[in-house]
Amino acid sequence: MSVSMLPLLVFLIPLLASIVCLLIKERPRLAQEITLAACLATAAFSLTLAAAVLRSGTVATELAWIKTFGFEFNLIVDALGAFTVVTITVLMAIDMIYTRGYMAPEEAGSRFYGWTLMFTAAMVGAVMAADLVQFYFLWELMLIPSTILIVYWGGGPRPQATGFKYFVVTHVGAALILAAILWILSVTGESGIYTLQSVLAALPRPTLMVLASLFTVGFAVKMAIFPAHVWLPDAHSEAPLPVSVMLSAIMMNMGIYGMVRFLFTLFPPEVSSALLLPLLIFAVVSQWYGGLQALRSTEMKRVAAYSTISQMGYVLVGIASMSALGLKGSIFHMLNHGTAKALLFMSIGAVIHSTGATHLDKVGGLARKMPWTALCCSVAALALAGAPPLGAFQSEWIIFAGGFSTPYTVLAVIAVCASVLTAFYVLRLVAKIFFGPEFSESGNMSEVREAPSSMLASMLALSLLSLAVGIYPHYFHRWIEAALNSFGLF
């Protein structure tokens, strides 16, 4: 099989499996198996794809025959795309293993799996898209299954309202992206993401500034940067747990990818550099806003959801620094935040699964009953707090170094200080759930058991991943360096 077919496989496997799952409405158990198999296969192929990309630079799929139908469909994967795709597909596969323990297939229904797979396909497709229009199409496709998952499977008092808010607010972001894309198309007539830079460089500076700002704000909405974060807390905390993982740990990477890709592949450096200060300010505000809200929340999932806003602030600090250093940290943080946040949500899910409690004050002292969950939750918390030898440390310091390479040392110091806040709220979460005297308001303590093995296995896998990255990050650094080289800016 030719290497150039790999991107297509990574896109088509989840898409086709999704259609199958949506069709076999009566057989949820089969749908569950298909989904897991598809996710594992996608992850395996994306790893193969990444290996090929690291060997040869870029892998592209060009479907010449499709041109006879009047449009183009090309996929291009470079080192940055490969890193994002691998992060998405691996985390998705682990999430699906977790879901086996968390939800019975009958309870979830075939369609749950179908929409999940379509969500995956849209995400990897958008990352690999070679063309602006194709990117936008897949970007919008991503929104639909995720909204359906929130509205029809979500908890909370008003899932429709939550889904509606999610759809409308992120759609505002998408509209800005669309505006920028249409503008580019009308001015240049060119739509290849990887060929546009030279064309765009000829445009007047003010036009470029407006275009760059449109893209940046559009992707910042997806990253839930303050003040565009309003869609996130409800959506991430009221979605069913496996979907919370998909949204918080996986989909957030799309915003990061988009911002990095569009700011640095399309625009000359001096244009993106002009955004440094405003982005840095919003990044720091997001860090602190998310952290403070996480500290105030008593609902476990909401703590994790607000923590995502704060962590996206960290990522934006790296991007805003407009330096190779900061960008490296931000890209690396996709994987490390994804791992830690997935792990945090999953261990919270294990607690909810075992005790039925959703609030921090309703349980306590679970460490003896659920030692493995306690361990995994501590790993997640410490990773988010930036403690070595866990993965997030390895990206956080680079982000901060990026911050200090800007002229705004004071802002960088405020950004670093946010890590104290982070340590406080995550460790408070762990202490409240797992330490102290045992109690559970919602049920009999003797009935509380450790989570099922498939949930534990996925949690332990993520813990080990975080540990491995934290102890020896060298190869990931090499990978991201390759990604940065492909920009050719630094």
Partner: protein
């Protein structure tokens, strides 16, 4: 010396930590033996590395892509601290065998202690600031997890959280310092940074920011005022852990860091004075707090804070050798005191000194070892604490910093008082009811005590080798032999100060001999007993900041909710307005149609005209 030994002394304990859970699953009974074996191997490796400390050697592997390498390169300064961590670690693992027997969660305990030992050795033996920070945070993590070792104890969980967050606050300064140095110098290698700074390639403002940032990190880690509040609470940890982490090794990291970076930051204006004052004030305040503590372990913790203050003070006045030598003395005698205290608490099941008494008869060996520790802490001649404390005073005299020196001498008086008094309260007199059944601990616990007591008596004899090894690290330049040390000490003004402090302390002990711990303390005593209100102040500050921040974020959320609702209300009412036109009312529709047509015709007419 082969560089691989440098890797081995870090990798062996960390590997042991990783394997402990496996042992715990296969043969839980073997966990202590496994940990002791690994600990002993590590101790041997650190001693071997120490003996070869003069020989240059460096272990390097690629670690973070093009950004940074992982390197270990011990020198004299670090080799001694690594050896303390290795040897004390092994002794404390041996002590833990009986001390922790029957506790729940031993896998966690042994694994974390081994990880701590490895990380501590890594912290001091690397020449790379980021690698150092990596281990710096790792030891903090072990400390956090071991303070909260008793899972069901909410006080332990709170203390762990407090320790982590408070030291993290200091670490913000340290990380900031490392980052600005990196961005400016382009390297994490501390020696290269020093070279660049000496060549004037690093701007003064950057050095100043980094210097005070590093100081902040050291203040957090070494529990200096105002970030000392975590250490007394950290006494919720098992006493073996308190001895290892919170007395003999981790808390020294800040002092070590200050010594390591002294050549870099001493030219920064105000830096030395800041270090001096932080140290002197800490030494004094913590000694006052120790004076009024009833809890044996808390008293020892305040004493640790106070002694760490001495070491900082020593660095501030330029007495690096004195400071590092006091670090070595203190590690030995304070570990000894903690281990004795642990043996006592293990027997009497209380930490309140008022409930103890007369234990010297029931536990003679423990009592004598404790007495050796007390004499070393008080600075009685011949014991190791005397020599190093005297060197500290001499350095301050030499530097002419008399006001902080006065604080340090007053501290010495207080130290004599609280330390001797603690011995009297715990070991002298008639056995208290709680002590009636107490027995001498198991030999595996006594052995470390006796060995450390011997160390507290004799460790100062190695000053010749010690100063020679340290001088090769390029930071400390004094080399002094034992006979010279004795001669200089006896002829110095500092010796008089030490003797005066001992005398005054003795008088204070005699004067307050009758006072019961249970009696109502004076107003000052009550204030000192509450830690001078630092905790209350921080709590108030946190609550205030929390309330203010809550108000802001809530107000913002209300605003966005209101905007969202307004948009929805507006669009719904607009929809209602339109809906009213679509109810199939033919007359109404026709009216609108005709109106529209008339308007269109009017516009066309007007345009044409």
């Amino acid at each position: 010396m082969n560089a691989s030994i440098y890797l081995a002394q870090v990798a062996v304990p960390i590997g042991g930590a990783a394997l402990t859970p496996l042992v715990g699953v296969l043969k839980p009974r073997l966990r202590p033996a496994f940990a002791i074996t690994i600990g002993a191997a590590t101790a041997c490796l650190t001693v071997l590395a120490l003996l070869g400390a003069g020989a240059p050697g460096r272990f390097v592997i690629p670690w973070q892509g093009a950004l940074n390498h992982f390197s270990l390169a011990p020198d004299g300064l670090s080799a001694y601290i690594a050896a303390v961590a290795g040897v004390l670690g092994a002794l404390i693992l041996l002590y833990s065998y009986k001390y922790m027997e029957g506790e729940e969660g031993l896998t966690r305990y042994y694994s974390l202690v081994l990880l701590f030992i490895g990380a501590m050795i890594g912290l001091v033996t690397t020449d790379n600031l980021l690698v150092m920070y990596f281990f710096w945070e790792t030891v903090g993590l072990c400390s956090y997890a071991l303070i909260g070792f008793e899972l069901h104890n909410p006080a332990a969980a709170r203390a762990g959280l407090k320790a982590f967050v408070t030291t993290k606050f200091g670490d913000v300064g340290l990380l900031t310092g490392i980052m600005v140095l990196y961005v400016s110098a382009g390297t994490f290698n501390v020696f290269e940074i020093m070279e660049k700074a000496a060549a004037g390639e690093i701007p003064g403002a950057t050095l100043a920011l980094a210097g005070f940032g590093f100081l902040m990190g050291a203040v957090g880690k070494s529990a200096q005022v105002p970030l000392h509040v975590w250490l007394p609470d950290a006494m919720e940890a098992p006493t073996s852990v308190s001895a290892l982490i919170h007395a003999a090794t981790m808390v020294n990291a800040g002092v070590y860091l200050m010594a390591r970076t002294y050549p870099l930051f001493s030219p920064v204006a105000g830096w030395s004075d800041a270090v001096t004052w932080v140290g002197a004030v800490t030494a004094f305040l913590a000694a006052c707090m120790a004076l009024y503590a009833r809890d044996l372990k808390r008293m020892l913790a305040y004493s640790t804070v106070s002694q760490l203050g001495y070491m900082m003070f020593g660095i501030g006045v330029g007495g690096l050798l004195a400071s590092q030598f006091h670090l070595l003395s203190h590690a030995i005698f304070k570990a000894l005191l903690f281990l004795c205290a642990g043996a006592v608490i293990h027997e009497v099941h209380t930490r309140d000194m008022a409930e103890m008494g007369g234990l010297g008869r029931r536990m003679p060996v423990t009592g004598r070892c404790y007495l050796v520790g007390v004499l070393a802490l008080a600075g009685v001649p011949i014991f190791n604490g005397f020599w190093s404390k005297d060197m500290l005073f001499a350095s301050a005299l030499h530097a002419g910093k008399l006001v902080p020196l006065a604080l340090a001498v007053v501290t010495a008086v207080l130290t004599v008082t609280y330390s001797v008094r603690s011995y009297i309260k715990v070991f002298a007199g008639e056995p208290a009811p709680a002590a009636a059944q107490a027995e001498e601990p198991h030999p595996s616990m006594l052995f470390p005590l006796v060995l450390l007591a011997a160390g507290a008596l004799t460790s100062w004899l190695i000053i010749g080798n010690y100063s020679a090894d340290l001088s090769r690290s390029g930071i400390i330049h004094e080399v002094i032999g034992v006979s010279a040390l004795v001669a200089e000490t006896l002829h110095s003004t500092a010796f008089l100060l030490s003797l005066a402090a001992l005398l005054l302390g003795g008088i204070m002990v005699a004067a307050t001999r009758k006072a019961s711990l249970a009696a109502r303390p004076s107003a000052f005593g009550a204030w000192a007993g509450r830690g001078f209100g630092f905790d209350a102040f921080y709590l108030g500050l946190l609550n205030g900041a929390y309330a203010a921040a809550s108000w802001i974020v809530t107000a913002y959320d209300r605003l966005t909710d209101w905007i969202g609702r307004t948009i929805i209300t507006l669009s719904v009412s607009f929809g209602r307005l339109l809906r009213a036109q679509n109810v199939g009312d033919l007359n109404g529709n026709l009216l609108w149609l005709v109106t529209g047509v008339v308007i269109v015709i009017a516009i066309v007419w007007a345009k044409r005209g």
